[in-house]
């Protein structure tokens, strides 16, 4: 199909994407590889690494500074996860706003950034979502060069299996929407899926595999490295990353939010952005705000390390299961939410069983591979399964929330668009639909069509 120029906002380079290619050229958004001045981190490369080897790696400095909070900033970003740090990075880099603090109550990446299954994809159906996630994918494709940090973005493909004609028709509709936006998508029949993954259960399946929707540019990234890479890049541009600094209240003057109370004292700012995922409702409550969000626990699992066993990412269409294999050799997999509101970063046994049943249903060779570790992340589940990037009703406060379990793949675009909103007070073109008032007007973005019940999204 013919490529088309993407109509992205002025600070995104228009580009043309040929979906027939295995993958496009890595895009270099303001690629910047020049070594840092003294005091800044040493530029990472094989050469600096070899050099370091001779000195016993003694000259590596901290990847990011550890400053004390200043009394005031132009912008405060609450939440030192991927979204918050990406926001700070793009504020500094794209918008030149460097007097920025990122406040993290624990250690950076201690929330969902470090508790996900590292999948990246842009295979969305609805016009409100599709361009946003595709911008994210393009940012992923240039991330290492942008950050000078190997985030191990690995486009080994994401395959969604279908098991019925109705499911196939829904994927056709989605695949067509993706292609209409220049996103790569291919519909595979059962034979093609078997060719790719011969060891899936084709012989004895309760819900036979009829085919799949494939996005070859989808894949995985090393989640912790994304956090550290953004932190290092933002810090090197002057952003203060302040760990162990929990926000305990909002400083309100008139109708406006002027700053935050924290465990390390009050900090004032012209604008305050929230990027706190599962803690969204709690922080919003400090500003007297009720939001269309529930916090739910999503469990994830890793197996023991084994030699290369599974190439890309696959999702089961007749159960709750998705799987990939990390570069370290662990199978990384997950499934459905536990289904009840939770702020405890752990789940219960029925979900573990449900996920493993799904795994055995499509990949019966998993049987003897051992589950090594499980954990739970607190998802900010919105009422239509899509996020909110918008101004809060009261001045000075900005919302970045409702990521459900799609937060990781959204990290770059979330930061990009939130930075744009904070810098310009207007929504970024690809995030226009993520309004807070869409639930009142009915302009919901409901990919699954399950309505106002977050645990079903």
């Amino acid at each position: 199909m013919h490529g088309k120029g993407l109509a992205l906002s002025q600070n995104v380079l228009p580009l043309s994407l040929n979906v027939n290619h295995r993958r496009p050229r890595r895009l270099r958004y303001g690629l910047d590889c020049t070594p840092r001045a003294r005091g800044k981190p040493i530029h990472y490369s094989i050469f600096s690494l070899i050099g370091a080897a001779f000195s016993g790696h003694r000259h590596w400095g901290p990847a990011w500074r550890d400053p004390a909070p200043k009394p005031a900033y132009d912008v405060i970003v609450i939440g030192g996860g991927g979204h918050g740090l990406a926001t700070a990075h793009y504020l500094a880099k794209v918008h030149g706003i460097t007097n920025v603090a990122v406040l993290e109550k624990g250690w950076i990446g201690s929330g969902n950034a470090g508790r996900n299954t590292t999948i990246i994809r842009s295979n969305y159906l609805l016009p409100g979502n599709n361009p946003f996630y595709e911008l994210s994918m393009k940012l992923w494709e240039g991330l290492e060069q942008d950050l000078n940090y190997n985030t191990m973005v690995s486009q080994r493909g994401v395959l969604n299996l279908y098991h019925s004609d109705a499911q196939r028709d829904a994927y056709v509709r989605r695949g067509n929407a993706m292609r209409m936006h220049g996103v790569d998508a291919e519909l595979l029949d059962a034979a093609a899926v078997r060719g790719m993954l011969p060891y899936l259960d084709f012989a004895n399946a309760r819900f036979p595999i009829q085919g799949g929707l494939l996005q070859r540019r989808g894949g995985t990234a090393r989640h912790d490295a994304v956090v550290w890479g953004y932190a290092r890049a933002a810090s090197s541009r002057g952003v203060d990353i302040i760990q162990n600094c929990e926000v305990t209240g909002m400083i309100r003057e008139g109708g406006r939010i002027r700053g935050v109370e924290t465990t390390r004292g009050p900090i004032r700012a012209g604008k305050i952005g929230m990027a706190v995922a599962g803690s969204t409702s709690r922080v919003a409550a400090m500003a007297g705000l009720r939001l269309p969000i529930e916090s739910h626990v999503l469990q994830a699992f890793v197996s023991e390390s084994i030699k290369p066993f599974f190439p890309g990412v696959v999702t089961f269409g007749a159960g709750h299961f998705y799987l990939s294999q990390s570069d370290k050799g662990s199978l990384v997999f997950g499934g459905d939410l536990d289904g009840y509101n939770s702020y405890a970063q752990r789940g219960n046994l029925p979900t573990v069983e449900d996920v493993c049943e799904g795994g055995m249903a499509i990949l019966p060779s998993l049987g003897r591979i051992r589950l090594l570790r499980s954990w739970g992340g607190i998802m900010d589940m919105s009422m239509d399964g899509s996020p909110i990037i918008d101004r809060a009703p009261m001045q000075g406060l900005y919302l970045n929330a409702g990521w459900c379990y799609g937060g990781f793949k959204a990290t770059p675009a979330s930061g990009w668009c939130f930075a744009h909103l904070l810098a310009r007070d207007e929504p970024h073109e690809v995030a226009r639909a993520y309004r807070l008032d869409r639930f009142a007007t009915g302009r919901v973005i409901d990919e699954k069509g399950v309505g106002a019940q977050p645990n079903l999204h």
């Binding site: 470090g114 067509n176 936006h181 060779s365 998993l366």
Partner: protein
């Protein structure tokens, strides 16, 4: 080679009369019943059993338990191949096959070992700093190399041939660990009459009693454990579960009863599972009280070459000597931070194994120990450290540093004792945080989950008498708390057993690599690098260096790493903190969590009463949720599905057909307020439906979007029966219960699912009435006047209740007949027999789908949760006279937007062209962009009546655009088709055929 040189001639819990043969890397060896693979390998003189993760360094056996980080092997072959199996817990069986991992071409000569030469570059996190240019090289070059190098064992791609199963157990007291503390607890709780479950991951009970030379009441520890087990097995309500690991603690309920996950390795000690036996069984144990008696794990010491084969934990050396009768070395040395290591000296000596030296980090070890050493002729290095161990395929020399003096000793085994870590993981799974104990220099259980107590070493009480005392007390207390009478708490006399846990973390200034995490090759230098780069939080340290992320989950490594980080940052260990332990305690096979829910048993299968008949007439079935439904009924000579389905459609419309519609949800709704209740559920009115009539209804979610549709019949003043779509039956039932119990409890309504009670068949087509008249033989007058469209009746036929409905999905004159399901098989056979002379045929879900599209009836593809009543052309059904669920929010601006895609029919302009569901509507010639997207095709069918493909779709302003031409754009399937927008009712728009 002969193993004899490495086996003691007597002692231990192995049966020397029962030799077992096994292979490792293709070479045959022999061991004895009672061996683990590890003890059998050591007993055969095998020192190197694997290669490390990153540097591929030769590794031996470190431990004797489930915490082993080094000795991972591939067990069994073919589809049963098991990567990363810890040789220390693999029970030996005759014919066991095992291979070493992560080496090529061989264990002895592994090319991967070049990584060791590159180790100056391969430091913690090196991959984050490089492999970035050129970008396109990542997937193509760098990553494949990394992926091949990483990973340990190789998993089979063949389906696991073994069975797994799940089981549930309930008890008053769950005791985790059958060492001295656990046995004492079980004895007291069991004697009190409590229901006790005692689990141990080992295949013999006794724990440390089997590994040490200890005595209880004059009997040997192991012997005492046998007696205790015998008594426990004699108690009716006590269950002793060996080979069973309690791997996870989960949330409790109001009663305090808590769920635990446990894995029973039913057949792993056998060559093959016995008939009807699973390989493993997943237990879900609900326990009112829990006693954690899981013991403690010894810590390695971080010094140069501490990963060399032959360097072992001191207590594990004792285990191999005392329990397995194995001599791990001929001439050994012991490196200890406290008294504990000295026990290894005496046990080795007692077994006739030479002990060249004891290296004690303390300046002044207790005099008693010194004299004992003197008696044995063992050299003592006080205030000294081992700084290096040499011998890549088994150590032969160690370097001891005393002050500034370095001395070399030739030994072929080194036992190290760096202190003890209580196994407290299960106290933290549900949120508890461990507490630092200066007394034993380790983290011990802190705040405990409700209902849990800890006894013995798991709580930091390492000595035998304390373990027995605490266990007995905990057992009695738990039984009492569960409501059982107090029992006298037994006292046992024990032999002298002082266990010290004195911290010895790290020997600095070693000439060679000192390992913290042996499996992941994390060295003290990596910890220092992480500190320099700011990854100081224990969680960041873990993620950056992968410390503690190996298959042992840091049991032997995390605390040593944290201690080094504490020293580097000038903080105390409790200040540095510890990482959270997460389930499972030890790795659990994924197959066990799935149980028998795999293959065809992944989910239950629901079969209609007519299924046996259908099986005799077709092999083509389709999954509809959990149901199986006949998709079509092929006739001999028919080329493909399209020919069969088209024939079925034409037959129905020309003569008649019968279709099993039993899978549709049926809900019995009774009560004085049943009508009023339905008025609030449906957007249209049902309280006004006369008895004996049926009405089509549409229900919304409270957010105003369509939830489900179906017909509801009024059988009596206070009795309706509702039908739902097959897919939404359960959801609607839950929705109705919510409305009845939560929203309007004042209404007198009772609802019951009768989906399963009634087998129901649709009889459609011009001959449908004749068929029924023939079948029912005058039981009821079916003439239009007496039984018009939308009539319903309850009748009795041959002594069996029947329900008859005059409704139609196909647009033909049609009936649905329902009969108690036990007669469903008889009825379908009777229907087909009676219909034969009228040319009535069976039809499946495909023909049903074609006919509903021909009639423009909406179904699943249109009821997708994002459509409104108006979108589906059903807006007029919304009653203005009453409220119903979803009415208010259906009035939101976006839901009333005239631009919303609305139901239309579409036909290819070229009547021979094919249509594809999922194609998007674009104006002819418009650019293929989302901005130009006007809607999409929801359902398509080949209509044999119109002799071409037809479709339903949702199109912006659809109803006003009949006659317009558009492009149905489908790049991923079928390409573009020019279509004409038409009415969604393609066939018999006047509906005359309904009335026959």
């Amino acid at each position: 080679m002969s193993g004899s040189a490495h086996r003691l001639t007597e002692g231990g819990l192995i049966d020397r009369r029962k030799p077992l043969s096994f292979t490792f890397d293709g070479q045959s060896y022999s061991g004895f019943e009672g061996d683990t693979l590890a003890s059998a390998l050591l007993g055969s003189g095998v020192k190197v059993v694997g290669r490390s993760f990153k540097y591929h360094r030769p590794r031996g056996i470190l431990c004797a338990g489930s915490e082993e980080p080094n000795a991972l092997v591939e067990l069994r072959t073919g589809a049963r191949r098991e990567p990363n199996t810890r040789a220390t817990v693999a029970e030996l069986y005759d014919g066991l096959e095992s291979q070493s991992q992560n080496r090529w071409p061989s264990l002895a000569f592994d090319l991967g070992a070049v990584n060791s030469l590159l180790s100056p570059i391969f430091v913690a996190g090196f991959y984050y700093k490089t492999f970035m240019w050129p970008a396109a090289f990542w997937e193509k070059v760098y990553e494949p190399l990394i992926r091949r190098a990483a990973g340990l064992g190789i998993a089979s791609h063949e389906a696991d041939p073994d069975r797994y199963e799940k089981a549930h157990a309930f008890c008053d007291v769950l005791i985790i660990g059958a060492g001295p503390a656990g046995l004492a607890a079980a004895l007291t709780a069991g004697r009190a009459g409590a229901r006790v479950i005692l689990c141990d991951e080992d295949f013999v009970v006794g724990g440390r009693l089997n590994a040490e030379r200890l005595e209880i009441d004059g009997a040997g520890g192991a012997e005492w454990a046998r007696q205790a087990e015998a008594e426990l097995r004699s108690l009716a309500d006590v269950r002793v579960m060996r080979r069973t690991t309690v791997f996870g603690a989960y949330d409790a309920g109001l009663s305090g009863a808590r769920t635990f996950g446990a894995l029973e390795r039913v057949s792993d000690h056998l060559r093959l599972p016995a008939p009807h036996q699973p390989r493993q069984r997943l237990w879900k144990i609900v326990a009112a009280r829990v006693i954690l008696a899981a013991g403690a794990v010894e810590r390695p010491i971080v010094f140069g070459g501490n990963d060399r084969p032959g360097v072992m934990l001191a207590a594990s050396v004792r285990t191999y000597v005392n329990r397995f009768g194995v001599a791990p070395a001929r001439q050994a040395a012991v490196f200890t931070g406290g008294d504990d290591g000295w026990k290894t000296v005496s046990d080795l000596a007692a077994a006739g194994i030479g002990v060249a030296a004891v290296i004690d980090a303390r300046a002044e070890p207790p005099p008693a120990l010194l004299t004992a050493a003197q008696r044995l002729g063992t050299r003592v290095f006080a205030g000294a450290h081992v700084v290096d161990a040499r011998g890549s395929h088994g150590i032969h020399r160690i370097s001891v540093r005393t002050g500034s003096r370095i001395e070399h000793l030739d030994v072929d085994g080194l036992a190290m004792s760096g202190g003890w870590n209580p196994c407290a993981a299960l106290t933290t799974h549900v949120g508890g945080r461990p507490r630092w104990s200066e007394a034993i220099a380790a983290f011990v259980p802190g705040d405990l989950p409700a209902g849990m107590s800890v006894a013995g070493a798991a709580g930091g009480s390492l000595a035998l008498d304390a373990a027995l005392r605490e266990g007995a007390a905990a057992g009695a207390a738990a039984a009492a708390a569960a409501g059982f009478a107090d029992v006298p708490i037994p006292r046992w006399r024990t032999s002298e057993d002082s266990v010290s846990s004195r911290a010895l973390w790290h020997v600095s200034g070693c000439p060679s690599k000192a390992f913290v995490d042996l499996q992941h090759d994390v060295t003290d230098g990596d910890i220092a690098l992480a500190e320099r780069e700011g990854y100081r939080s224990v969680e960041l340290l873990k993620r950056y260096t992968t410390l503690g992320m190996a298959t042992d989950q840091g049991k032997t490594s995390s605390l040593n790493g944290h201690a080094i980080m504490a020293a580097l940052t000038g903080r105390s260990i409790p200040e540095v903190g510890t990482t959270t332990a997460r389930p499972p305690y030890t790795p659990v096979a994924i197959g066990a969590f799935a149980g028998h829910h795999r293959g065809k048993e992944f989910k239950p299968t629901r079969l209609t009463a007519g299924h046996a008949w259908a099986r005799q007439n077709t092999e083509v079935f389709v999954e509809a949720g959990q149901w199986l439904r006949a998709q079509w009924f092929p006739r001999p000579g028919e080329q493909d599905w399209l020919e069969s389905v088209s024939r079925e459609v034409k037959s129905v419309r020309s003569s008649g057909g019968v279709c099993d519609v039993s899978t549709l949800g049926k809900i019995d709704i009774q009560g004085a307020d049943a009508g009023a209740f339905l008025d609030r559920i449906y957007i249209n009115t049902f309280s006004t439906v006369p008895v004996g009539k049926v009405r089509y209804g549409l229900m919304l979610r409270e957010d105003g979007f369509v939830m489900d549709d179906g017909t509801t019949a009024r059988l009596g003043d206070a009795h309706y029966v509702m039908s739902t779509t097959t897919a939404n039956a359960a959801k609607v039932m839950q929705h109705l219960e919510h409305a009845r119990q939560v929203l309007w409890p004042e209404l007198d309504v009772q609802i019951v699912s009768v989906t399963e009670q009634w087998a129901q068949y649709a009889i459609a087509g011009p001959n449908s009435r004749r068929l029924l008249e023939r079948l029912l033989g005058g039981v009821i007058d079916l003439a239009n006047a007496a039984f018009p469209y939308l009539a319903c009746a309850e009748l009795e036929w041959q002594g069996v209740p029947l329900r008859l409905f005059r409704i139609s999905f196909s647009g033909e004159m049609a009936f649905e007949i329902a009969i108690p399901a036990r007669y469903g098989d008889a009825l379908i056979r009777a229907l087909m027999a009676a219909g034969r002379e009228f040319g009535v045929i069976p039809y499946g879900t495909e023909a049903l789908g074609v006919m509903r599209i021909e009639k423009g009836h909406v179904a699943g593809n249109e009821l997708n949760g994002t459509t409104t009543a108006a979108d589906l052309g059903l807006g007029r059904m919304l009653s203005k006279k009453k409220d119903c669920i979803g009415r208010v929010l259906a009035g939101r601006p976006a839901l009333l937007d005239p631009e919303r895609p609305t139901l239309v029919g579409v036909r290819p302009v070229d009547r021979k062209a094919r249509l594809y569901a999922g194609a998007h509507f674009l104006a002819v010639g418009a650019a293929t962009t989302l901005e130009n997207d006007q809607g999409y095709v929801t359902s398509v069918a080949y209509s044999p009546m119109l002799e071409g493909w037809i479709g339903l779709g949702l199109l912006a302003r659809g109803p006003s655009r009949h006659g317009e031409r558009l492009v149905a754009h489908s790049p991923v399937r079928g390409g573009d088709t020019e279509v004409e927008v038409v009415s969604p009712i393609f066939f018999d728009p006047e509906g005359t055929r309904l009335h026959g």
